[in-house]
Amino acid sequence: MLVGMPEILMAQGGSNLKTLTFSADDNGILNFALLLEELEAAFYPAVLKSGKITNSKEIDYLTALGNHEATHVRFLRGVLGTNTLFETKDLSLNQSGLNALLSDRTKILNTAVTLEDLGVHAYNGAGPSLTNPTYILAAGSIVSVEARHAAGVRALLDRPSTETVSDRLVKDADLNASMNPFMGRAYDELYTPKQVISAVGSLNILNNPINGSLVA
């Protein structure tokens, strides 16, 4: 159950924003995944608080998604332990950017699709760079749940559960060819962390600067 609002929604955007520096190794990748999970875990409670979703099935779905993402956050923090790069309170959300995504049902559900699709491509893209076998199994156990989320919310919108060509966040021509043996609707392509960060940036919800060799 979600108890109260996540810390991230209470965070104030001050002048001393923590810069998130992701290294190109297992710890950097897990911290990068943690950031995406934190954003998702912040989004769903904000959606429910907005009052813009009134259909009981949609509330049920979005509540479950929020719980799953919060669980992923706790899991990743547990795995990272002292290697955790940032606390939830270190993240600063752009409230006006977030509010713009909460304007109505359609905007909310389409944003959820974007976040979930992006999560899928991000985990897929990071997988081959991991070195610890347990980490890639853990990433696999999470990414298919994100894919189920994406498909579920797409279904609520009568959108196809898989991504049509026009539907993709990164176009074929911009994909890293060596990372992607297969392309098209039947595949969830691998995005580089840099591509993921660019897509996150276009949502305009995170104030923290991001750098490091992983996203260079």
């Binding site: 779905y61 479950a64 719980n67 799953h68 993402e69 669980t71 992923h72 899991f75 795995v79 899928v120 985990y123 897929n124 997988g127 081959p128 991991l130 070195t131 610890n132 076998p133 347990t134 890639i136 199994l137 853990a138 696999g140 156990s141 999470i142 990414v143 298919s144 749940v145 994100e146 894919a147 189920r148 989320h149 994406a150 498909a151 579920g152 279904a155 196809p160 559960s161 898989t162 990372m179 992607n180 043996p181 297969f182 098209g184 609707r185 039947a186 595949y187 969830d188 392509e189 691998l190």
Partner: protein, 292 residues
């Protein structure tokens, strides 16, 4: 709750038996004797693990499953075109067509990869008439309820099957990189399919199901794993299945049909131009006959 069921179904045999019938325990036991490959690596945090399957073996295994899935959807789509499934809503028909196209694409592309690895995709075969009745112990194409139930089992198992190979492919190093990337690209699409069918069951059939797995009893593989650092019993984490476990489950389907079922159709041979059991070059055990 999954953790509750975890305590009930600790033994994988009992979990499998619950859904598919206790008869599966027998082929599972036989297969454990027949399989020549070693047991999968323990899921420890050791970096000194070695893969239990080569990238080529993983592709051969995946191609078998994809051929089966593609064939399953071909038959389902055919049954919607005036057959026993003619009455299913358009929404479901278009999804069956779309998912079938995805699986056929996986077959095409995995076949190409297998060639580059020195394998023979035409040698990876399924029977002309797989025994799909093994899934539910009745014809899964007879009505929409059974079709979607069988489809959910198949897709969820596909997700678990790909997930069960990511460690093998990672441990193969550079030799496994392309196959790993391809497997990841497919793995999450299978999850989208599974979720889409689950959504159809919830929406059209009012089934108590969600796009994600809420309960270990919803799937035919072992969802919960003791002694894993990953909390598979939590619904925020999807389970995996080893090749041995998956083949034990699909072996009854891969058993050649000796008696006709309503959807048996020899015209399907066009998809398996060299469908001949004797040509099978993989290390798969011979289909277990006569257990059904």
């Amino acid at each position: 709750m999954k953790y509750f069921l975890d305590s009930i179904f600790k033994a994988p045999f009992r979990t499998l038996g619950k859904t598919l019938g206790i008869a599966l325990v027998v082929p599972l036991f036989l297969l454990s004797q027949l399989l020549t490959s070693s047991l999968p690596a323990a899921y420890a945090q050791s970096s000194s693990q070695s893969p239990t399957l080569s990238p080529r073996q993983v592709v051969e295994y995946a191609l078998t499953l994809e051929k089966l899935e593609a064939d399953f959807y071909r038959r389902a789509v055919r049954a919607t075109q005036g057959g026993s499934l003619a009455g299913v809503p358009e929404m479901a028909k278009s999804i069956l067509v779309s998912y079938g196209q995805d699986e056929a694409q996986h077959v095409t592309d995995l076949s190409a990869v297998l060639l580059t690895l020195g394998g023979n995709p035409d040698g990876v075969t399924i029977p002309a008439n797989p025994n799909y009745n093994a899934i539910l112990k009745r014809d899964p194409f007879a009505n929409p309820t059974d079709l979607l139930m069988a489809g959910q089992y198949v897709e969820d198992l596909g997700v678990a099957a790909y997930k069960g190979q990511v460690q093998n492919l990672l441990l193969a190093g550079e030799a496994g990189k392309v196959v790993l990337a391809g497997a990841l690209e497919i793995h999450s699409v299978e999850a989208r399919h599974a979720a889409g069918i689950r959504f159809l069951r919830q929406t059209l059939l009012k089934a108590d199901v969600r796009p994600w797995v809420r309960n270990a009893s919803e799937v035919i593989y072992q969802e919960n794993r003791d002694n894993s650092p990953i909390p598979f019993s939590n619904e925020a984490f999807d389970g995996y299945a080893t090749r041995e476990e998956v083949l034990a489950l699909v072996s009854p389907i891969l058993t050649a049909q000796t008696s006709s079922v309503s959807q048996s159709d020899t015209s399907n041979n066009q998809s398996n131009p060299s469908n001949n059991q004797s040509e099978n070059p993989t290390s798969f055990p011979a289909p277990v006959q006569g257990l059904w």
